[in-house]
Symmetry: C2
Subunit: 165 residues, 2 copies
């Protein structure tokens, strides 16, 4: 049986106790979290969020990419959010990742190399990466509110957020 089938059984239990059908699409706390896909991060638990509170954007690294800017533009202009937290983390797979080695590995698995333009988002210094992502958000012309954008490192060893930028 696939793992997805197991998660669907969990979802059946969840629906039996479902109690928040009436929430609004606009986040009640008017805040967006941008963070990594990492399995060790549970945004709701780490920040005390309940359903309806906040938009959550996640990708490999918690990097500010074109897709994150697109999503934030919709979040602010169409759904009323005003603050943004960028949260990258210790022990991230993107930290020190060898992009060329990964491309070679994919090429070996698939029988041909990936498109040479593909970039995976590796970085060499965590705090510098957070600052670069925050700087991009402060500079983009697609956002409405740029005075409350803050960058953090989440320590997977302690659960603590450390402010960087």
């Amino acid at each position: 049986m696939s793992m997805i089938d197991e998660l669907l059984r969990n979802n059946e239990q969840f629906t039996a106790g479902f109690d928040h059908a009436e929430l609004d699409a606009s986040p009640a706390r008017q805040v967006v979290l941008v963070t990594c896909m990492d399995a060790r991060i549970d945004p709701a638990a780490a920040l005390g969020l309940t359903p309806g509170d906040a938009h959550v954007l996640r990708n490999a690294g918690g990097l500010v990419t074109d897709d994150v800017v697109r999503s934030l533009a919709i979040s602010q202009h169409a759904l009323g959010t005003r603050e943004i937290m960028v949260v990258q983390h210790t022990q991230c797979g993107m930290h020190g990742l060898d992009e060329n080695a990964l491309a070679l590995k994919i090429g070996a698995a698939k029988g041909h190399p990936p498109n040479a333009n593909v970039r995976f988002g590796a970085f060499t210094d965590l705090d510098t990466s957070v600052r670069a992502s925050v700087a991009r958000l402060r500079a983009t012309d697609l956002l409405l509110h740029q005075d409350r954008i803050r960058g953090f490192v989440y320590e997977v060893e302690t659960g603590r957020l450390r402010e960087v930028s």
Copy 2:
């Protein structure tokens, strides 16, 4: 006081009870969830996930974008995941969004129109959008495992997942 400061206080409480310092970066359940940033969706609750279980990717719509493919390539080739769930949802802000009206709104707020190449990812039919995202993943040459990619609609009214593709 900003909302972010309030969330940081919640994080202090979280760290006091923190009990999973030793988790591995590779997801224990070898599964990735791709879903929307929507504030009403709590992936951990809806699927019965605990820290360390699964990668979670989120953007506006739960659409498969370049950034999602990038993240999934890392997830599969570097961190050992094998299955992918794409979960879009009812009452999504991207469903029926008028892209031109949004561009005009941003232009009015910022004093100049956004780059004409910006696309926000609006869609007109939910099931069709899920199928298109799943099809893109089944066709990309950047993934290692493409036999267990499944598409769903999450009903924000009931919490239930309905399989589409």
